[in-house]
């Protein structure tokens, strides 16, 4: 379970990313974070994997209480999560395969498991034939899918995706969304910040809308609700 309790995030320059946000996400949920650009979706997401710390309030992820997390435990928290970053964060000097394998090496997986698992995941996101390409040899959408593969490769309990379909054409976006649905069906909790109106409307899942750092709407079977 993920729980935000009256969380505010104030950045060093004085800007507020989140204001007094309370939110509970249960295991197995599929939840969309929507809202205009600059609303605070990424701010919320970054708190979950502890790239940023809350300025006020408390964030809980399962047994982890994030404000008092010791350094060594941050790694353990992050291993529960598969994160697709809004800015993708691929390593430019590594191939597609290495970029994904890397996430498994980090958690100490065996070479055999890596050899077995990485091609599977790359196939899953439709990059089976780009294994040896470097990120700069890929399109924006393909890079995004490498990021998704990396987030999924360790079978995380929570998948946190910040606009994972931002650069994808509707067709591919749809394929990727099906992938997330499948992962969710197998038990993973999916938290996705997105501007993909059609998909949100069509999926009929929980929608949390954020505006100017505040939660303004939280619906179990919600719609996107903005003109995109």
């Amino acid at each position: 379970m993920i729980r935000l309790d009256k969380v505010s995030k104030r950045y060093p320059n004085g800007h507020y990313g989140l204001v007094d946000v309370s939110l509970t996400i249960r295991r197995g949920e599929f939840i969309f974070l929507v809202g205009p650009s600059g609303a605070g979706k990424s701010s919320l997401v970054r708190l979950l994997y502890r790239e940023e710390a809350a300025s006020q309030g408390e964030v809980y992820v399962d047994q982890f209480k994030l404000s008092t997390l010791r350094r060594g435990q941050v790694a353990r928290l992050r291993r529960q999560l598969g994160v697709v970053f809004q800015d993708v964060k691929l390593l430019p000097q590594r191939t597609v395969y290495q970029n994904v394998a890397f996430a498994m090496e980090v958690v100490g997986a065996s070479t055999r498991d890596i050899h077995k698992r990485v091609p599977q995941v790359l196939e899953l996101v439709g990059l089976g034939r780009n294994r040896e390409n470097f990120p700069h040899q890929l399109s924006g959408g393909e890079q995004q899918r490498v990021g998704i593969a990396r987030a999924l490769v360790n079978n995380p309990i929570y998948v946190i995706a910040d606009e994972p379909t931002g650069n994808l054409d509707p067709e591919t976006a749809h394929e990727i969304m099906k992938l997330f649905v499948e992962i969710n069906r197998r038990g993973a909790t999916v938290i996705m910040a997105t501007h993909a109106k059609e998909i949100v409307n069509q999926m009929q899942r929980r929608v949390v809308a954020i505006e100017q750092g505040r939660v303004v709407r939280d619906e179990v079977r919600g719609v996107y609700g903005y003109e995109s």
Binding site: V74, R78, F85, K89, L91, F102, A103, G108, S110
Partner: protein
């Protein structure tokens, strides 16, 4: 850390060294240069110590026995004094032997030879060798207390000055070596920091996907150790060759100058540079990484 982990670390390290091969070369050279300076100093101190020991072993004290004391008493003091602390070695000489050695030393001094041949005015006595020159004054008093002793003669000031000098040199040595160590550390810290800086994105992403600090550190630490060791080995090779050459030249030019042996010099140099290289490499990589691990 399991086997996969070790494989990962080694692969990462080699990849990093190869990727930054110019940088690696540069840091190995800097390490080698500072290790060479360190070695130079080590060679110097080893040799100074060597000269000091050689000189100390030549330092002696002469104890003269009253005339008309029986041989038995002389021998009994000899046997007693052998067990006194700091006594390395004692030679007993009779006044006849003293006269002979004088004659040998100054064969052209006719008057002298005639004088000591007629009625020998010299004394029986002992040549006393000590372990430490500082011990000589105390031993001298101890001999003087014995009723059969007539006089004790030693080069008091030379001995104590030598001891003082070697003490000062040792201190200067530690200070200079400490400063050099710091300079070396500083250089490696900066080289590794540049290497980490070039890969800060990678470090950041690693942390974000759940890498522990040590998982990230190991390759850099190993890299630091390899850089330190390679630099040390280069310096060691140069010093070895250089010292061989020096001993060869000195054997001809200064045959009486007591140079420390190659083996004794190289054990010092190897010990300090290799341990120093590893130590500095580890420390430098840890210091260099600190800032970048805060993600």
């Amino acid at each position: 850390m399991n086997l996969n982990g070790i494989g990962y670390i080694v692969r990462e390290t080699l990849r990093n060294l190869a990727r930054n091969s110019w940088m690696s070369l540069a840091s190995v050279s800097t390490v080698a240069i500072s290790m060479f300076v360190l070695s130079f100093f080590l060679v110097l101190t080893t040799n100074l110590n060597h000269v000091t020991t050689v000189l100390q072993s030549q330092v002696e004290m002469k104890v003269f026995v009253n005339p008309k004391v029986g041989r038995l008493k002389e021998i009994s003091l000899l046997n007693k004094a052998r067990h006194w602390p700091n006594v390395r070695h004692i030679d007993f000489f009779t006044k006849q032997q003293a006269a002979n050695s004088l004659k040998r030393e100054f064969p052209n001094q006719r008057d002298l030879v005639a004088l000591i041949s007629k009625s020998n005015p010299l004394f029986d006595g002992y040549d006393v060798f000590t372990y430490r020159p500082q011990a000589i004054p105390r031993l001298a008093t101890r001999f003087e207390k014995d009723p059969i002793v007539h006089a004790v003669v030693y080069e008091g000031q030379v001995v104590t000055r030598l001891a003082k000098l070697s003490k000062v040199l040792r201190w200067v040595g530690w200070v200079v070596e400490g400063l050099l160590g710091l300079a070396t550390l500083f250089i490696i810290v900066n080289t590794i920091r540049l290497a980490v800086f070039a890969r800060r994105r990678e470090v950041q992403v690693m942390k974000l996907v759940g890498a522990t600090d040590w998982f990230i550190r190991w390759p850099f630490v190993l890299e630091g150790v390899i850089l330190g060791l390679l630099g040390a080995v280069v310096a060691d090779l140069v010093v070895d060759a250089g010292y061989r050459w020096l001993t060869g030249v000195a054997a001809i030019a200064l045959p009486f100058w007591p140079l420390a042996s190659l083996a004794s010099v190289m054990t010092q140099v190897l010990l300090f540079t290799l341990i120093g290289g590893v130590f500095v490499g580890i420390l430098a990589s840890l210091v260099a990484l600190r800032r970048f691990l805060r993600v």
